[in-house]
């Protein structure tokens, strides 16, 4: 139980930080500091070169000392112009990685949640229909599920992006894309839910309910849905990290979030370039944001009472 709390707290902290990105991050995530491309992370110092302690921490920007200003202009911290504070370095356009990771989390986590929600919803509806009504509906839906499992969704994405309006901003475009992935992913959970419904509807209390003429809706919502709830929760903890990671793959293929909007997958995509990881290691920082999130979700699965 304590472990579950730890997991929940970590997840809550990360989500909170991402939600407050506008306040915590010192820069706009799209702001280009073109004179500072690929700036390595800056250390925050308390001692100057003479060994004197400063209560107010400072950074070195272009060789000069800039003390951190806390809580000014509605930002958690920043430094005075013309200095810069790049806690986690900058990317090819001189955009602040720290700000981008925080803002990018919104997209990545949001996408994971959205796609999971849609997958579960579609899987729940179709799996329940198949399991509950059985017969030809079951046959058709389950054969369709097999087809959907065998189809790589990449092609669909190529088509989808081409048909979305161009004037849509990149985040919305991406959310629509990931929504499509989410809906297309119905087959696996649907099969799981169908199995649960199949066994649930054989329960004696369901027969009893039929015996006194309860409606299908009543039977489903009173006696079957509660069984699905815990399975859906487990599925969710499994799917969310899966979809967050899917964004990384999509970005590698150029189908992720468009510029200039940040996302963890999009930020990791440049690492595919030869030598990038060795020469600009700080570009891998989003992976360290990804790590605790995904780990926590996986930990949540192994802690939750019903395993898959």
């Amino acid at each position: 139980m304590t472990r579950l709390w730890l997991v929940a707290l970590t997840l809550a902290a990360i989500h909170l930080a991402v939600a407050l990105a506008g306040f915590i991050s010192p820069y706009d995530p799209a702001e280009q500091h073109r004179d500072y491309p690929f700036e390595p992370p800056m250390a925050v110092h308390f001692f100057d070169s003479g060994g004197n302690f400063h209560l107010r921490p400072f950074v070195f920007s272009a060789g000069r000392m800039y003390p951190l200003q806390v809580l000014v202009n509605g930002k958690l911290f920043q430094v005075e112009e013309p200095g810069h504070v790049f806690l986690l370095g900058t990317d090819a356009f001189g955009r602040d990685q720290f700000s981008r990771i925080l803002h990018g989390g919104r997209v990545s986590l949001g996408a994971g949640l959205l796609a999971t929600l849609l997958t579960l919803l579609a899987g729940l509806i179709l799996g329940s229909v198949a399991g509950f009504y059985g017969g030809w509906r079951d046959t058709v839906l389950m054969r369709l599920a097999e087809v959907f499992l065998a189809l790589p969704w990449l092609y669909l994405l190529l088509g989808v992006r081409a048909f979305l309006p161009l004037s849509l901003d990149p985040v919305r475009t991406f959310l629509l894309t990931i929504a499509v992935i989410g809906v297309v992913g119905w087959a696996r959970p649907a099969r799981l839910f169908r199995g649960i419904v199949l066994s649930a509807k054989e329960r004696e209390y369901v027969y009893a309910a039929r015996g006194f003429g309860a409606s299908s809706l009543h039977i489903f919502s009173w006696h079957i849905l509660p069984d699905l709830r815990s399975a859906a929760l487990t599925q969710a903890t499994l799917l969310i990290p899966q979809y967050i990671l899917a964004e990384v793959t999509l970005s590698f293929l150029g189908l992720g979030v468009g510029e200039p909007a940040p996302s963890w997958g999009g930020m990791l995509a440049p690492l595919r370039e030869a030598g990038m990881l060795t020469s600009h290691w700080w570009l891998a920082m989003p992976a360290f944001a990804l790590l605790p999130v995904v780990m926590c979700y996986y930990a949540a699965i192994s802690t939750s009472p019903s395993d898959r």
């Binding site: 004696e204 209390y205 027969y207 009893a208 039929r210 015996g211 003429g213 309860a214 009173w222």
Partner: protein
């Protein structure tokens, strides 16, 4: 006992020539050869009557009651019921506790058929304290759960109650209490019972009539006393021989 036939000559349930075969074979699933579960079963049931079906497991008893309760469709044959509403035939399964959703409270269970206001009355009718209505099903003992299942069945204003070995899982003293309760209810509400048992023990005490069922047929039928004293069919004899509680005469 035979007097009952005189007081209610008009049957409320008439079953004629019921047959049902099982075959798991279909386009998509393999299965063995078809197997007959019911093979031309006919009987009548009158108001306030208790009819017991006795036979070894696999004889087709459960299939029969499932057909009567409308859970399965027979292949051929006719089931005529005096009432219009099928809800008036209620089945209480082998282990009544399983027919109660463990997530629900007693109140929710009993009011499920749409009898919200009558819950206290129903609970007291089956001898459960009214204050317990807020408790979860899981908080009840086996015997109490049986009563709860009974209360829910009563909420449907039944005319026929089917007891599919419903008391078998209970301890003997509890069983006896339940039998008393059932007899009492039969008196007060004019219920007819169809009792399923695989041995003659409880059926002999409880039923007006016993039908011995074997391989999907009724092989012998009559009041318990007659049946026990002059069994005709070998199956009846073997059932008598292994009756656990002895013969009730």
């Amino acid at each position: 006992m035979t007097g009952d036939f005189v007081t209610s000559p008009e049957p409320i349930l008439r079953v004629s020539n019921l047959t049902k075969t099982y075959s798991k074979r279909s386009w998509f699933s393999p299965g063995g050869p078809p197997k007959a579960a019911l093979n031309g079963i006919s009987f009548n049931l009158s108001e306030r009557e208790t009819l017991a079906f006795v036979g070894p497991s696999g004889a087709g008893k459960s299939t029969l009651v499932r057909c009567i309760a409308g859970r399965e469709r027979p292949d051929s044959g006719d089931i005529w019921f005096a009432g219009e509403d099928r809800r008036a035939i209620q089945l209480i399964p082998q282990d009544p506790g399983t027919s109660l959703n463990p997530r629900l409270t007693a109140l929710q269970v009993v009011s499920e058929p749409g009898a919200g206001r009558r819950v206290p009355e129903l609970l007291s009718m089956v001898g459960l304290p009214v204050e317990s209505s807020g408790a979860k099903v899981t908080a009840f003992s086996g015997g109490q759960r049986s009563r709860l299942a009974l209360a829910r069945a009563l909420a449907c204003d039944p005319r026929i109650l089917i007891l599919d070995e419903s008391l078998a899982s209970l301890d003997l003293p509890v069983q006896a209490q339940m039998v008393n309760l059932l007899l009492d209810l039969q008196d007060r509400l004019g219920l007819a019972y169809i009792l399923i048992a695989h041995d003659l023990g409880i059926a002999g005490h409880f039923a007006d009539r016993i039908a011995v069922i074997d391989e999907g047929r009724i092989v012998e039928e009559g009041p318990p006393v007659e049946l026990f004293q002059r069994p005709q069919h070998p199956r009846t004899r073997s059932l008598i021989a292994c009756a656990p509680g002895g013969i009730p005469c």
